[in-house]
């Protein structure tokens, strides 16, 4: 099993490190032909406008969409969540548009409003998960085929839609590996299908 981490801009190294500590092989993805080698893809945090522009210029959109439609699991964190969304409020920026969600960028305010908070994520068990929110988006609306996995103060911050998952915080910046393990389980399941 091999996971790709989109490595155009942002915190891709941290995702690779977490995956490696879970015993999983992970590679940086910068070109579309590298997508042939992988069983799952993580789109990391960074600036969604920067990542989206480079995905467009270096022609990564079509192949990711077709692999995801073919069942490959994709997980987006923060900017990755924005890029996965079908609708982004007040923005025409390039995106994958795979998930039936509406995202609001920088929804908590500017950097001085960035924060850490404990989250209750029932899928991961009873222990709280420390969410690191950095100029984070929220998921403002979801369609009925989208499962809400976590909320903070009434705002949706983690969702799943079949083989696609997104969260607005940064599980790669903390030591808790449960979310990455959960994603790996999704990949294993998809490979057995």
């Amino acid at each position: 099993m091999k996971i790709g981490v989109l490595a155009l801009q942002g915190a891709f190294r941290e995702h690779i490190q977490v995956l490696n500590t879970l015993g999983c092989k992970a590679i940086e993805i910068k070109k579309s032909e590298q997508l042939d080698e992988i069983n799952g893809l993580i789109i990391p945090g960074g600036e969604s406008t920067t990542i989206g522009r480079l995905m467009n210029v270096y022609q990564l959109f079509d192949k990711i969409v077709s692999k995801a439609n073919g069942g490959m699991p994709v997980f987006g964190t923060c900017a990755g969540c924005v890029i996965l969304a079908k609708d982004i409020e007040n923005s025409a920026q390039p995106r994958l548009g795979l998930m039936d969600i509406t995202v609001t960028r920088n929804a908590f305010g500017r950097q001085v409003d960035s924060f850490e908070a404990d989250l209750n994520i029932p899928e991961l068990g009873e222990n709280p998960f420390k969410g690191v929110f950095i100029r984070a988006p929220i998921i403002k609306r979801v369609e009925s085929n989208v499962e809400v996995m976590a909320k903070i103060a009434g705002n949706i911050v983690m969702v799943r839609q079949d083989n696609l998952m997104a969260c607005s915080f940064h599980p790669e910046l903390t030591l808790d590996k449960r979310i990455h393990q959960y994603f790996l389980n999704m990949v294993i399941k998809a490979m057995n299908n």
């Binding site: 941290e14 960074g46 600036e47 920067t50 900017a79 500017r110 001085v112 924060f115 903390t174």
Partner: protein
Amino acid sequence: MAEKGTWLVKKGLAEMLKAGVIMDVTTPEQAKIAEEAGACAVMALERVPADIRAAGGVARMADPTIIQRIMDAVTIPVMAKARIGHFVEAQILEALGVDYIDESEVLTPADDQYHIDKHAFKVPFVCGAKNLGEALRRIGEGAAMIRTKGEPGTGNVVEAVKHMRTVMGEIRRLQNLPTEELMTAAKNMAAPYDLVVEVAKTGKLPVVNFAAGGIATPADAALMMQLGVDGIFVGSGIFKSKDPVARAKAIVAATTYYNDPKILAEISRDLGEAMPGIEISNITPEQRMQERGW
């Protein structure tokens, strides 16, 4: 409960900027161009370093109106510069809501001995460094991100290369020292002992490290990335060149594909003239911005 301004969220924003380009801008229009070209953040200024150098006199924090208009124009993070040691300029920038403060040698220092206590702020800081001791002193004071100083406003990458090689060489040296020699190493480089021990153990700076000061071409950006920096600041290099849009896009792509000479060759074509450069030996030592900071 939600906790704001923690070390993790300060350092975390710098992690999100990695492999990206932060561009100096002086107007909302330039900020828009930078954002559309793929900048991961902009630095809001009244004048770019090349113009500050040409104007002479005392360079200070930009007018809040200029910074605010740039913040209103883009969705990416906006940074702004405060003078070294000028903690009130920093308080004003924090009150404005900028996303990062650069305590910068590009402006005229306000204190000839002390830097800002950066732990006292919720907004994170980036600081320049020529060597490892300077980088670790700034981190000790609370900087959540480091950049090379280079020589700003020159379009000449040689000083940024020198500073990056110096930092990396000093890190490699620390890694090879036996533990009992680390205290003397800390004394000699005038750096906090616990940070020296951490660097000796991990082989890297405890925070993100960008290149700054003299980067003018895609090849310059890729050179700094191959030397091991995490990302790129471009000051005068974009809006002092003939075709800022093309150059901005090319430097963004070069920072991502820094290891791919074929792509670098493609994106380096037809960019028009780069900014005019200045040979470092033509700048007298007292006019070198990199000598500011203690």
